[in-house]
């Protein structure tokens, strides 16, 4: 939550990682670094489902994020809901912290009388509208995901529409795994626009292995790189402390 910016990793997978470290461990580390990990599980019916389900839930739980399992035709709606809900959770947490500093620990928003609670939620709503957001999207390209990729592309375009309707700034990056030569491949570096997605997934070849853990690791490193690049430039150019966001 440094500099009034929300950082999220959004993982789209059908679960069942089979290479590298435990993705849940990487997610737990991400959480410690202030990056929330949300997972949308696009699962098929069948025996692999249970295992996939477990993995999806445990990654999001460790990463302090939201998880949701969907059929592929509900993907667009879900991706946007998960992202926004996770944002609200983060902001709620921030406001909650501020509150307990003012009111003493143990005091929660829910303990307030309904009138006061309404004012707090107004603040959360306002922040959700104006806060800047970085989302790194991580798409599982293992063979079983292949038929779902057109829908994934639709869902990401939809996400971009939703987030651009806010007042706050958004930046997206897109990674896929496994990549052509490496475990993880960068498809799109930080950009405010996701319109450039068209055709990206058609060119991709899907692979057999699913290195979810290493992919999350790469995503984390990419966030770090962005931070250090930033600090080399002028410090905090388009970033501002959340306390000053105008209300």
């Amino acid at each position: 939550m440094n500099h009034g910016k929300i950082k999220q990793i959004l993982l789209l997978t059908d679960g069942c990682s089979n290479q590298g470290e435990d993705p849940a461990a990487v997610a737990a580390f991400a959480k410690e670094k202030g990056i929330t990990v949300n997972v949308v599980g696009v699962l098929d019916h069948g025996s692999a489902r249970d295992h996939g389900l477990q993995e999806v839930e445990s990654i999001a739980a460790s990463g302090g994020g939201v998880s949701q399992i969907v059929n592929v035709n509900q993907l667009a709606r879900t991706v946007q809901m998960v992202t926004k809900q996770s944002m609200t959770h983060t902001l709620h947490g921030v406001v909650q912290n501020e509150l307990s500093q003012i009111l003493g620990s143990g005091q929660e928003v829910d303990d307030l009388p309904p009138d006061k609670r309404g004012e707090v939620i107004d603040v959360v709503d306002e922040l959700g509208e104006t806060v800047n957001l970085d989302v790194l999207i991580l798409v599982d390209m293992s063979a079983s995901m292949k038929p779902k990729l057109p829908m994934v592309q639709d869902a990401l375009t939809d996400l971009s529409i939703s987030l651009h309707s806010r007042t706050g700034e958004n930046h997206f990056a897109l990674f896929v795994f496994p990549g052509k030569r490496k475990e993880t491949e960068k498809v799109l570096d930080w950009t405010p626009e996701m319109n450039s997605l068209t055709g990206v997934f058609q060119r991709m070849t899907t692979g057999g292995i699913t290195p979810t853990g290493p992919a999350l690791q790469a995503a984390l490193q990419h966030f770090d790189k962005r931070l250090s690049k930033r600090s080399l430039k002028r410090y905090g150019e388009d970033e501002f402390p959340i306390e000053e966001s105008g209300f």
């Binding site: 879900t78 309904p114 939809d158």
Partner: protein, 335 residues
């Protein structure tokens, strides 16, 4: 924002008829009569209260319910409180050690748009659309956008039959991102605009509602379709349905976001309805080719200067006088 239940620990929260409680803060007693429905943010029950039968919405999620209360509260500050169901009480319910927020509002009894049209005839639908557009216009002028506009959130009360909305969970301040939406009615889904809360967002949804009345099973957007493709698909659906085809121009303009406010769409819709009804009897006055003429005559009743040698102006004047006085009478009753 739309809520998901996957995370909510209280997913199966259900109160049986007869359940009674007293609010934590305001000490008002409630007793459940029956479940009315399930909204995005909670369950709505019909309940006995101190002031009679009211609707009570109990939230599964504290945050989004509070958001909705904020909207209703803002509405209640608007003169006459015509925008939504009136808010009567906001409190917490303690049930088995857990705290659930709830609010109590006016109970709107009625039928869904489609049920009503099935029973009473489809000629009602354009009338309700006109009413709806008038309400939307007022809502927009207060700085709000309805957001999740769909038949599920509308109810026909009466008699006299009137369309009202009751779930304001998606209502968003103008200029922000729409809080809640349903894909079929969402211009973002169709690739025909963003999700910024502005009047044209609601007008798109209104057009989709009208389209849905002719295609109750709805239809989907093809995956990866461009905005031109979806627009031509929607156009085809409109043209293939005789009742919709008459409204083609209004619908397409709304879908393309060409109406900056609800008032303009309402005006066009009224004109279309008038044209449609005046076409039925074969009295084609194609002298001037000016379709507005008749409407102007009807509207400008107060200062109609060019009186022709016919009884028409008199009849119109008398009807509008009767109409006006009945409006005044009803307003008097209302106050």
């Amino acid at each position: 924002m739309e809520k998901m239940n996957s995370q909510s620990k209280n997913q199966a929260f259900d109160l049986v008829p007869g359940t009674a409680w007293t609010g934590k803060w305001n000490q008002n007693p409630y007793k459940i009569i029956k479940t009315l429905g399930k909204g995005a943010n909670g369950v709505v029950y019909l309940a006995h209260t101190r002031t009679g039968q009211k609707a009570v919405k109990i939230g599964e999620d504290k945050m989004s319910l509070t958001s909705e209360v904020n909207v209703l509260r803002a509405f209640s500050k608007v003169q006459g409180n015509v925008l939504g169901p009136s808010l009567l009480d906001v409190d917490d319910l303690i049930w088995k050690g857990e705290v659930y927020p709830f609010f109590c509002m006016e109970y709107l009894e009625g039928e869904t748009l489609l049920d009503f049209a099935k029973k009473r005839g489809t000629e009602w639908i354009p009338v309700f659309m006109v009413q709806l557009l008038g309400d939307l216009d007022r809502l927009h002028q207060e700085g709000w956008i309805f957001g999740d506009l769909k038949p599920d959130n509308l109810i026909i009360t009466g008699p006299p039959s009137r369309v009202r909305w009751f779930d304001v969970g998606g209502t968003t301040k103008q200029g922000r991102a729409v809080k809640e939406y349903t894909e079929f009615y969402d211009r973002g889904y169709w690739g025909l605009g963003d999700r910024k809360a502005e009047p044209s967002y609601d007008l798109f949804a209104a057009a989709m509602i009208l389209i849905e009345t002719a295609y109750p099973r709805r239809f989907d957007k093809p995956v990866g379709a461009s905005s031109e493709k979806t627009l031509s698909l929607l156009r085809r659906y409109i043209q293939h349905s005789p009742p919709l085809a008459a409204y083609q121009n209004v619908l397409l303009r709304a879908l393309k976001g060409e109406y900056p406010n609800a008032q303009l769409m309402k005006k066009d819709l009224i004109q279309t309805i008038e044209k449609k009804t005046s076409r039925k009897p074969p009295r084609n006055q194609q002298r001037t080719g000016n379709p507005r003429k008749s409407t102007q005559g009807r509207r400008g009743s107060a200062g109609s200067s060019k009186e022709k040698a016919s009884y028409r102006p008199e009849i119109i004047l008398t009807t509008s006088f009767l109409f006006l006085s009945s409006v005044l009478y009803f307003m008097g009753q209302w106050m």
